[in-house]
């Protein structure tokens, strides 16, 4: 019975010893910090700082915007969607913006495996909202991306620079009304009911358009 009691108390003593050791180490660290503080001279000044935000939003201009579906596209077809790019942050963006388009899954529509064929994209800005029924801009149009094969801009590393994006580059709160035209180039011939290999026929993909703006250059202020 007494032996049984000893075997219970021994571990408790070890645990207590460890906790005591840790407590002593903590006290030692705090004391050291206190001594350091006591030996320091402190002078305090203050200034208020607010950081800016850099936000780019994408929404439908007219119509469905990008939340659409293009079915059974044939070579020569064009599908136009109309989106607003809005600089909603508090910081102006640097002049210029980039766009890349990824296809998931990647296939001959987007990765160039069928040479000279595949999806293309063109972007045009309108000074006012586009007219959905006709696809006409009643204001002034500005080309911001000439027709380009998606296979040449399907990664962030191959993003293309958009040109003439004044309203987005200038300042915050600006909106660009952009028509994004999706086209399909196809020059292949099917023989005896069989498509060539590789082919752009009968494929499906979901395109992700990524627009990226850069922060304006930093400003050095002396005051």
């Amino acid at each position: 019975m007494s032996l049984h009691t000893r075997t219970r108390n021994k571990p408790r003593r070890h645990g207590k010893a460890m906790v005591a050791g840790l407590f002593a180490a903590s006290v030692g660290l705090l004391t050291t910090a206190g001594v350091y503080a006591a030996l320091s001279g402190v002078a305090t000044g203050s200034e208020a700082v607010a950081s800016g935000t850099l936000n780019l939003t994408l929404s439908a201009d007219v119509g469905a915007g990008f939340s659409n579906f293009v079915g059974k596209m044939a070579p020569g077809d064009t599908d136009n969607v109309y989106v607003n790019l809005n600089n909603t942050g508090t910081l102006a963006s640097a002049a210029g913006m980039t766009l890349w388009v990824a296809g998931t899954p990647a296939n001959a529509l987007t990765n160039g495996t069928a040479p000279g064929e595949g999806l293309t994209v063109t972007a045009t800005q309108c000074s006012v909202a586009w007219t959905l029924a006709t696809g006409v801009c009643s204001g002034t149009t500005t080309p911001i991306l000439a027709t380009a094969q998606i296979s040449t801009m399907n990664t962030s590393g191959t993003a293309v620079s958009l040109s003439n994006v004044p309203s987005l580059a200038a300042s915050t709160g600006q909106v660009a009304h952009v028509q994004v035209s999706l086209g399909l180039v196809g020059t292949e011939t099917s023989t005896n009911g069989v498509a060539p290999t590789p082919t752009i026929q009968g494929l499906s993909t979901t395109l992700a358009y990524t627009f990226t703006e850069q922060q304006r250059t930093g400003i050095a202020t002396n005051q």
């Binding site: 571990p11 119509g63 044939a74 136009n80 790019l85 026929q201 499906s204 990226t212």
Partner: protein, 183 residues
Amino acid sequence: MGTNYLRCNAGRTAAAAAVLLLAGVMVLVTPLSAGAANHKGIAVGSEAVVSGTWKATAATTSMTFTTNTFQTSMITNTGTIALSAISYKVTISNPASGTPTFKVFACAVAWVSNLCSGGAGTQAGATLAKNTTTTVSSTVVPAVAGNVYLQIEPASVTSSVTVTLGTSIAAPAQLRAAVKTNQ
């Protein structure tokens, strides 16, 4: 048994305390990295796309003629895109004797007694000679999943001669007119 349990518990307590102490020290010594933002504004939109198909098959691809009897083949649009034209590759063998010629006629409905809705149908290409391979085109096209009917009309057949028929559809020239969609 009870002793082992207690020892194990004490060890775990000590280990946990040590880990907590180490974590605290790590927090103190890790430099602040709040300024590591990438300074980019990014907006992403997506749309789903499906491409169509353009292809057609011939039900009968090889016909052997020993007389001047007409023969037919049904052409089916097995693609998903409407067509504006379709081409046929016609290969005529070299018979042992004679100088046969062939004409290809298309009809939107099945031939009845060699007539297309009571008429002659629409000829594709010109008259074809023996021992040749010729591609002829026709604007009589099958609708998607629909059919047209070819009739091969020989003349001057005196010995066995074979006509082989193939289809081809070239984009974009032989597809429906391009469509522009605003959505």
